[in-house]
Chain length 708, copies 2
């Protein structure tokens, strides 16, 4: 920065951290389009909107960004971004761009700003203190864009400004007062001018934020009551300890011109800096600058000089150039558009959302039926880039109307493989996605294989284990109960996050299999979370009846699969956002009282609660969220089973595939059955509405599967 | 039927209603496939499964159906269909088909059946009394299938059987006893042999149904206690007053051979016939036949003769032919497959579901964004055949990952129109759908038009009105609040079912605008249901703030749109299934107590409850279903507004488009505002979790829209 430096004893020269510009490629795309369709040869100035933020968690620093939406005024920027008005001057030729008198242009802008300070309009709308100029030339043949930003700052007062102190807000206010300031600031809508420049008064522990237009009134209040403290404040995007952001420069010009000497020798300026953490937003990183007004000349220039052209990347005063000849590639545009859409969630609503974590999550979908297709779509919407489908089925004529990645053509000539077709469909939707499909058949308990088939079974098991190990989340969305057994076991062995979804006619179950480290209740001693099989007292594949229910798969209300798929994907993303990931404690949603609403607890992530399971009932438009503990004799996730697999490997699996009764022997379930066999377990009637009342029953909590 | 008729005084000759066969085209498709891939030149008999039903509501009559699933044994047939075992004999040549000794074949089957009756195995598994033979020849070159069904019936006893009485069950049992019989029968799984042939004992008001294998025991019970009544029963698909179904023929052979004369001179046979109505299933249409055993010869043939070859459509004993050369067209196959899938819902789970009503519903989707795309998919899954999209937007690069009918290619060259692309996508998924797209711009309050634009506005209004009038359900799923106003008004004018869906970041609102005739609570006096605008105290388009919120549209969790879309489609289908349609009363879901679960009420349809609205909150995995009354000063649905439109037409609309304040004048809202203006109404913060607690507030119950 070109702030002049002059020494003065006992005080610190104020140096401002400058804004820097950031242009999304889609800004150029939109500009090209507008140039061709609307502006044509006009060189008239165009009003555009940029945005910046004083929320440090967003990591935007002092950047002022423009993107596609910059051309639509009032495009509603949200709570964490602050709008900055800009003026775009697009020249028709490179010569016009080069030859424009940039100094004179900036003086024009400065003159207008100074006029608004003098006539008091700046008090009504102080956001004009933050503004930018953008000079451009668009070479539409080569897709090169020349541009130069200016952030106009008045050279007023003409002498340097000193601060008698620059200190943390903690030295200025007690924690209660800081909290009160944060609350008051949060309540101001992002669009309000008072979000950018404002007056703060502090009485006891209560902070009040008011518009600059109320200056006289507020000063009077302050003078009347000596217990009141008075500050001027502004949204400060700087994160430097001793350097407030560029906005303070014009603010001091206004303060000095309008309110000195009325304000006295000094004024305290709050440089308001927000961050998000556990418990919401706070302003604890703010600083306070005591500005020495008395050291300033009492001058009233016709208009002060104006500076502010941005330096280029080499550190010189000069324009920059964006070469988009490659990135106007539609695939890159799609990438940028999708990522912008996701960033908006962060920027506008959930600053602590970790989108990178979601993007890097490798998802394995075992099943490419109604659930698999819809879950993949939802993951794509969340920005997941690596999705692998496993399904050995072929697409049949009844599938496309419910399985959202397939079309009629996929059914011809016997039907394409579902997994491969689903992977291909994702690429047609969003080419950068890394999707794959494998027509792997998942071996099942109680489905014996012949000697001849053993080799192919061996390789299927090995491949499935490789896939589980090389992904982060495994979705069990196949259409038979037995086929979920091996992946559940492998998920437990490799301690992966496993999400199961299963459908009834108008009900669904979505649950996560917790890691060993996660518990039913937050805290140390409670047992880990149940898996899909923990509720069973017979091994999968051992029940004719269960198989029959499984095969009723397609008989579901079409909406059920969409809802369950959305919940499955959203549950996965919530778990990913939890600091403990798959180890996040699962808690029964019913345990939340009204008093918990809005309170962050250990079972919450930035997206809200992280339940163990959700059971929904469409006929009653109702859902439940019980949490159940793992069963020590579970046929899929118990220690005994995991140990047997670890020590015997394929030999163990062969015994299980031969007869699932082996699992009942191993886990001691058989003994349990003999001791207390309750024939009623079998009479599960999945058309019976009464099941809505059975949710607390462990057996009732595991629903029969249906997805394709 | 070739039942011999011989007169006998004082009694009625028993004549049986025969089974008739019904072959789904997909049966032939599957047979062709199996013939080519598996059977090849083998002529070995194959076991297949057919199904029939004694539920009259299903409208299947005495039909025994086979379809694709017939080749998979144990394919889990559900609660309303009864399995019938069959034997398929497919001949390699037409000569082989013609020359087979059909009489001898039937005798073979009869011999085996007779053996099982004699050795008592038929008591363990009486379903063998119902069985069929299917003789086929598949001409795979011409796609012609020759076939002949037989439903084997033993000619035993060899003399005619007389009934001393055939009467309604109401003459036999009191209503309590009939209800008890119905309950006992419903509790038997469809797969159980006792669902088809069984013993009924009646003591006081309690009916008990038992397996034929318990005959001795049951007869003893009956003899011990003279208050007990004893019946033999069977599942009777016949709906004729005096003619039981064909199954009774073999049953009487068994009864006569095994239990006469032990049973006495007569036995009462219950011909059990089910129907579904309000309150679930009942057996009130059953009849009771008193069979005169004493009139029968006491004979024990080595084996009795067997009859049962089906007549063809001309009424002759002869084979039939299905010419599928045209219907093996993949589009017809898709149609048949999708319709079968839907029928399964009815057959297996919800017999009174009116699928035709859903299929005939013409749906208008105003908006082809995330919600529009997903709702259309869900409607397609439900069998809706006519879907029209209206959207003037173009597909942008960020759309395909969330808008499930678009792919990357649709974004190229400036992007296709959303409505047209969505309509085309539906056809690619399911070619028979009648989908259309129109790039119509919907005029909005507070968006004035110039004189020059008036003509195009006029035609837009006229077209929109035409569309509303020519569809049955209108979905409001656009991305701005104002654009919902005109369609809401037109929906109210034409008294159409209107479903609105709107999204927040992690919350949604799905609601229906009730017809004038529908009320908040079932019953006469309560007010009609609110529309989307009923909760507002300002006219749409009159608030800068509201517009800003609307434009935060894309900032939603991806799962939210799937869930809301599924609820919107399922709510529409539920309303369609309600006897009162759009006039169905809407009731707050919160008013349902535990005691209501499973009870049918006036607010229920066959699919369950029919609420007014559903508000969901994903961060808490929670949803609410309040019902709110219409507002007499509503800017969209109140009488004053409807009257103004009816009398002034376009003139009225022009005033509203010019300034939405006109609506506030007209409805008296302005006066209301002046009287009690509450600035707090404006401070709606849609990122604030506290909104979950605001649901009972009428203002809070209308959420800002977001769909594209
Ligand atoms: Zn387990
Ligand atoms: Zn209304």
């Amino acid at each position: 920065m070109d702030t002049e430096i002059r020494q003065k004893s006992g005080a610190q020269l104020l140096q401002y951290a400058p804004f820097s510009s950031c242009v999304d490629p889609r800004f150029w795309y939109k500009l090209s389009q507008l140039k061709l369709e609307k502006y044509k040869l006009s060189e008239e100035s165009v009003n555009i909107d940029g945005f910046f933020s004083n929320v440090s968690t967003l990591g935007m620093g002092l950047r002022v960004s423009v993107d596609e939406s910059s051309f639509e005024r009032n495009s509603g920027i949200g709570h964490n971004l602050l709008p900055m008005r800009g003026t775009l001057m697009n020249k028709n030729t490179l010569d016009g761009f080069r030859d424009l008198d940039k100094k004179a242009l900036l003086q024009e802008v400065g003159k207008e700003l100074w006029k608004q300070i003098q006539n008091g309009q700046a008090l009504e709308n102080p956001t004009i203190l933050n503004s930018f100029l953008l000079l451009t030339f668009a070479d539409l043949k080569k897709y090169r864009f020349y541009f130069w930003f200016a952030f106009p700052a008045l050279l007023h007062p003409s002498t340097p400004v000193y601060a008698s102190s620059i200190h943390d807000i903690a030295e200025e206010m007690n924690p209660k007062q800081v909290a009160s300031l944060g609350d008051a600031y949060s309540n101001i809508p992002a669009e309000s001018p008072s979000k950018q420049f404002f007056i703060v008064t502090l009485l006891n522990d209560n902070c009040d934020i008011a518009s600059l237009a109320t200056f006289n009134e507020k000063v009077e209040e302050w003078r009347r009551n000596s217990a009141t403290k008075f500050y001027l404040g502004f949204a400060d995007p700087s994160q430097l300890e001793a350097n407030p952001g560029w906005s303070l420069r014009n603010f001091i010009a206004l303060i000095h011109h309008l309110w000195y000497p009325d304000l006295g020798d000094e004024v305290k300026v709050l440089c308001l800096r927000m961050e998000y953490g556990k418990g919401g937003s706070n302003v604890a990183k703010s600083i306070c600058v005591t500005v020495q007004l008395s050291s300033l000349l009492a001058e009233t220039p016709d208009f002060p000089g104006t500076i502010g052209w941005e330096k280029n990347l080499k550190g010189n005063m000069g324009p920059r150039m964006a070469d988009l000849s490659s990135s106007l590639d539609p695939i890159r545009l799609a990438e940028s558009a999708v990522s912008l859409n996701l960033q908006l969630m962060r920027w506008r609503l959930v600053p602590s959302l970790d989108l990178e974590k979601v993007e890097q999550t490798r998802c394995l979908l075992l099943g490419a039926g109604t659930l698999g297709c819809n879950i993949a779509r939802c993951l794509l919407g969340w920005g997941v880039r690596e999705i692998t489908f496993v399904d050995s089925g072929k697409i049949s004529f009844s599938n496309p109307v419910r399985q959202s990645l397939f079309v009629h053509e996929d059914c011809l000539e016997g039907g394409k493989n579902k997994a491969e077709a689903a992977a291909r469909a994702l690429q047609l939707i969003f080419p950068p996605v890394r999707s794959r499909g494998e027509a792997l058949h998942i071996p099942m308990p109680g489905h014996p294989v012949s000697k001849a088939e053993e080799e192919s079974l061996k390789s299927a098991v090995a491949r499935l284990e490789e896939l589980v190990a090389s992904h982060d989340v495994v979705f069990l969305v196949m259409d038979s109960r037995e086929s979920r057994w091996l992946p559940t076991l492998l998920g437990a062995v490799h301690q992966k996050l496993v999400i199961t979804a299963a459908l009834g006619f108008d009900s669904f179950l979505v649950m996560r299999h917790g890691l060993k480290t996660c518990s039913v209740d937050p805290g140390g001693d409670s047992p880990p979370l149940a898996c899909y099989f923990c509720g069973d007292v017979v091994a999968p594949g051992n029940s004719m009846k269960a198989r029959t229910l499984d095969q009723q798969c397609t008989v579901t209300r079409p909406g059920i699969s969409m809802i369950a798929a959305a919940y499955a994907a959203e549950l996965a993303v919530s778990v990913i956002q939890h600091p403990l990931g798959g180890g996040a404690p699962g808690i029964s949603l019913e345990k939340f009282g009204e008093e918990d609403v809005g309170n962050e607890r250990e079972a919450d992530c930035v997206l809200g609660k992280v339940p163990h399971m959700i059971r929904g009932f469409l006929s009653a438009w109702h859902q439940l969220g019980p949490a159940t503990p793992a069963f020590s004799q579970c046929t899929a996730c118990s220690e005994k089973v995991i140990e047997a697999y670890k020590s015997e490997g394929l030999e163990f699996l062969l015994k299980v595939f031969e007869s699932s009764a082996y699992l009942e022997e191993l886990t001691g379930l058989k003994k349990l059955q003999e001791e207390s066999f309750d024939a009623e377990v079998w009479v599960m009637d999945d058309t019976d509405d009464d099941e809505t009342e059975d949710h607390d029953d462990l057996r009732g909590s595991v629903e029969d599967a249906a997805s394709s």
